[in-house]
Amino acid sequence: MMNCKEATQLLSQGQERTLTLVERLGLKLHLLICKGCRASERHFDFLRTAARRIGSPEP
């Protein structure tokens, strides 16, 4: 079973590249049992949303 450090690595890399099937399954399994990493997944998504807003031309 992967640990939280590895799981957050994959969460981050999932924003950069397509994860392999094995990586996706391992991550899914970890997220099922780990609340901290589930929260991290949403946090990372939010960081991306917020950062993109800064670069958007809307006033």
């Binding site: 981050s12 950069e16 590249r17 946090h43 917020a50 800064i54 670069g55 031309p57």
Partner: protein
């Protein structure tokens, strides 16, 4: 668009553009230059714009390109930190996990994060966090997420491997999350 109309749109955008450029370039003078050049370019293309929103979109994409050019120039001139040597900045991230790689203190879900996006004060904190993480992390995160460069381009620009790039982005995201948890979402540890 008419010139006076265009001037009004420019005036309204200027401070947002300056903030944006300052955050990326870390230099008041370089930010001023980039904004000035972008506005000048837009000025010369004034006939093409149908309305304020098309001007904004256009000027912002010019500004992003100016910033990217300036960052490239700095890399070329060696006037940039050494991205390959990131080891020194790993300590604070390692403290988040125990020896087995599990959370030392698991992060909590944020209450209603979307609401923060409409809060002026949130953006002040967000920018402070971008400034507060180690400079390499902040720089690479902004290149990726704010300037919208692809990871491959960033690797090439900074002469680092993709895996190195991923490591830095991972650390940047963890650092920013910690900062926002503490300074905005009020997570108690």
């Amino acid at each position: 668009m008419k010139t006076d109309e265009l001037q009004r749109v420019f005036a309204a955008m200027r401070s947002q553009m300056l903030r944006f450029a300052r955050l990326q370039l870390r230099s008041e003078a370089a930010a001023e230059d980039a904004v000035q050049e972008a506005l000048l370019a837009a000025h010369m293309a004034a006939d093409q714009f149908a309305g304020a929103s098309s001007v904004r979109t256009w000027v912002f994409s010019i500004l992003k390109n100016k910033i990217i050019d300036e960052l490239r120039r700095r890399v070329r001139e060696g006037n940039v930190m050494d991205f390959a040597a990131a080891e020194d900045e790993m300590k604070d991230i390692d403290e988040l996990f125990d020896q087995r790689g599990h959370w030392a203190a698991p992060p909590m879900a944020w209450p209603d994060p979307e609401a923060a996006l409409d809060n002026q004060q949130f953006w002040v904190v967000f920018e402070a966090c971008l400034d507060g993480v180690p400079p390499k992390h902040g720089r690479i995160f902004m290149m990726r997420e704010i300037l919208g460069l692809e990871t491959e381009e960033i690797c090439k620009e900074l002469a680092i491997s993709p895996s190195n790039c991923w490591v830095l982005l991972h650390r940047a995201r963890l650092g920013l999350r910690e900062c926002l948890s503490q300074r905005w979402f009020g997570e108690q540890k």
